[in-house]
């Protein structure tokens, strides 16, 4: 085991211990808030996987997050007590009544033309399964088309961007079925085997922390498999890998789908923790913001991107709740983004890595370069991630 590897292992262990230790120190509000941040951490992982490892900058990651969120939210909406209060035997979401044609039957099957799509979601398991399945299916279809055509770089970004905006538009327009701009609100808590995941409970926090840990470890292992190595090689030079006989598009599609699945799960977790789903999950700003989280944390590091997402959100919460800065917090966050991209191209993970590397080398042979400013060193070392 190299020093590097041991350190990485340490960092992962430290992070996992830290998130599981959180409930010892915070109140129920803190738990709920940090659970949300852990969900954002999962989005960071998804971005690091597709951007850092596969070289695919997805500017529409919010699409998969949103799809996952909506799938579970549909089930939870039907389980909500308010859905049973419409005077029908079977649950009907309240917003469908608003949008119904006069005289339509108050029944999920036929209150409007597309409401039958909701029927399977009366079983919560359908929502849970579709929350992963739908993002993966969409990612697979998109991936097969895009990567077979060998489209890369900013072109993939623009396609994903246009797609997420297209879906958002349709989602808002299809108000009778989707709740439109309001999204799906007033949801029930998730219940598995009789255990209710109240958003402020420790149980829900453990769920989020557990899934995040699982994702983190699984993602880390998966990029170290042969497939992961092929993928990284393809990121650096597609043509070379293709000449070696690998079907690059297959690998890209696979990892694109994994990232989509992670985002889908994150979307579901968010619904459990925040109890609503909204078309704003598919806003351009949200998708770009995710990418910035990953960039701040370190796009080439799975743990880094995850921690970056969590830290930025903590910082945002801290600054925006400081009384004097309520109006200015966005400007401060913007400044942090600019400065990070300019001076820490590999993010916090890169900075830490260099620091530790230096520290270790200092320990071994006598100090030589101890006082070179870190940021400039990082800039010269890294050209493109």
């Amino acid at each position: 085991m190299t020093l590097d590897r041991r350190l990485t292992l340490c960092a992962y262990a430290l992070f996992i211990v830290a998130i599981f230790a959180v409930p010892l120190f915070v109140d129920e509000f803190g738990l709920n808030r940090i659970a949300k941040f852990l969900v954002y951490g999962m989005l960071g992982i998804a971005i690091a996987l597709s951007w850092g490892y596969a070289g695919i900058l997805n500017l529409g990651q919010g699409l998969f997050f949103g799809l996952g969120a909506y799938m579970l939210a549909m089930s939870l909406k039907l389980a909500s007590p308010t859905s049973l209060q419409q005077g029908a035997d079977k649950p009907v979401p309240d917003f469908m009544l608003w949008n119904a044609e006069p005289g339509a039957p108050t029944d999920l099957c036929c209150i409007n033309k597309a409401s039958f799509l909701w029927l399977p979601f009366q079983h919560q398991s359908v929502g849970l399964v579709m929350g992963i399945a739908l993002p993966v299916i969409v990612a697979a279809l998109l991936g097969i088309i895009v990567f077979r055509k060998r489209i890369e770089g900013p072109f993939v970004s623009i396609i994903t961007l246009a797609l997420v905006l297209l879906v958002r538009l349709v989602l808002v327009d299809a108000q009778p079925v989707t709740g439109g701009f309001n999204g799906l609100t007033d949801l029930a808590s998730l219940e598995i085997f009789g255990f209710e995941f109240d958003p402020y409970s420790k149980g829900t926090y453990w769920l989020a922390a557990g899934i995040l840990t699982l994702t983190l470890v699984a993602t880390r292992l998966i990029v170290e498999t042969r497939a992961g190595l092929v993928l990284q090689a393809a990121r650096d030079d597609q043509r070379r890998v293709r000449y070696l006989g690998f079907d690059v598009s297959l690998y890209q599609t696979f990892f694109f789908c994994v990232a989509a699945a992670i985002s889908g799960v994150a979307g579901m977790l968010y619904v459990i923790v925040a109890q609503f789903a909204s078309p704003t999950f598919m806003d351009l700003a949200f998708s770009v913001t995710m990418v910035v989280w990953a960039a701040v944390g370190g796009r080439a590091s799975i743990l880094g991107a995850c921690v970056g997402a969590i830290l930025i959100n903590m910082m945002e919460a801290g600054i925006s709740e400081t009384e004097a800065l309520v109006g200015a917090w966005k400007a401060i966050i913007g400044l942090v983004f600019v400065l990070t991209v300019l001076f820490l191209p590999r993010g916090l993970a890169g900075l830490l890595h260099d620091q530790i590397g230096r520290f270790a080398s200092v320990g071994r042979d006598k100090p030589r370069v101890a006082h070179v400013p870190m940021s400039s060193a990082a800039v010269t070392e890294t050209k493109e991630a």
């Binding site: 109140d27 129920e28 509000f29 803190g30 709920n32 808030r33 949300k36 209060q85 419409q86 005077g87 309240d94 917003f95 009544l97 608003w98 949008n99 119904a100 044609e101 006069p102 005289g103 339509a104 108050t106 209150i111 538009l169 808002v172 327009d173 108000q175 439109g180 701009f181 309001n182 999204g183 609100t185 007033d186 949801l187 402020y200 925040a274 109890q275 609503f276 909204s278 704003t280 999950f281 806003d283 949200f286 919460a317 925006s320 709740e321 009384e323 004097a324 309520v326 109006g327 917090w329 966005k330």
Partner: protein, 416 residues
Amino acid sequence: MNVSRRHLLKAATLGSASLAAPHIVSRAFAAEPIKVGALYSQTGNLAVAEKLLANGVSMAVAEINATGGILGRPVEVVVEDGASDPKTFSEKASKLIVKDKIMTVFGCHTSASRKAVLPIFEKRGAMLFYQTHYEGFECSRNVIYSGAVPNHQLANYIPWIVKTLGKKKFFIVGSNYIYPREMAKVSKKLIEAAGAQWVADEYLELGHSEWAVMVKKIKESGADVVLSNVVGDSIIAFYREFKNQGISQADIPICATVTSEIEIAAMGADYAAGSYTSFPYFMSLDMPGNKSFIERFRKFVNDPKQVTYHSLEAAYFQVFLWKQAVEKSKDLGAEGIRTGIAGQSYEAPGGKVTIDADNLHCWLTPRIGQWQADGQSKVVDAYPHPIKPLPYFAYGETESNLFCTSKGLDTAKLKI
């Protein structure tokens, strides 16, 4: 527009302290302050409207503090930024309620943000004061709705358009979300009941500002009046395009439900002159309290040209209704507010308002204003008195057949 609200707030409190009798001061500062939340967007695209609402709330609180606070305690506003994003609204609402243990929050502007935070208020037993006119169909016991509901805006409006303006063919246009769609639904019923007809019911994406095709459709539809439920800065682009395509408000007037003094000032009064809006409050109202309200608000935001409008007035007077409720029940909790506020009246800048004991919505006076060349409205029709709010008006709710009462929503009556 908003200038250092906190700075001014401080100044207002201190200023009042020096003016007020010493015993009030000592009492006010000895007691622990009552904390309330103000949850509006300070950033993002909705900040345009919501920052003013936050100012309305802050000014009301400053005035309450200047006159000795509530129950001898000063009121402290905790301002949080919803950032125009339901995600942030939900998080900040839970911060205010769960972490800061604040029981009363003034806030939200869009239905989307209200819907996102509502479960938190209901599960935690806190009270939301919501000032924006909205589509109805809500009967929460944890919200005081001080803005208009569809029967305030439409019940007199549509018959008036048909009878007084003599219009027969409506073109209904709105932004694509729940409020305009619900307003369109109510309007259609009223239009048909008044013996007129509607020729189209069209929607444009929220925030969309390209009106060329829609206005062309209006021009060619044969409609003689436009009913506009368009919101936000789309309004400006709409009215401008309307004139730019050569349609005169005298031939085809735009009758709006959302267009307020804010949008008129931004588009330029000449584009809107001759069009109509239905609102319970207009800046031009010749009421004793209104002039002083406008003056004080302009001073508060440090902008001598600032306009006032319906939601702002409601954001302001709801704080006083809350004060009266708390003083009556001597209980700061949601239950205390609920029981205390039922039937509570207040002389607002736009006249008397009352919180309905049944559904916690607000009795308001429907008024129709015609926009003039100076950007102000002339009230051309008004009810003589405030009328009862009916949040389920679209589904057949009437004053004698209430759906939403203090026991909650009677779902048996609710038919599509």
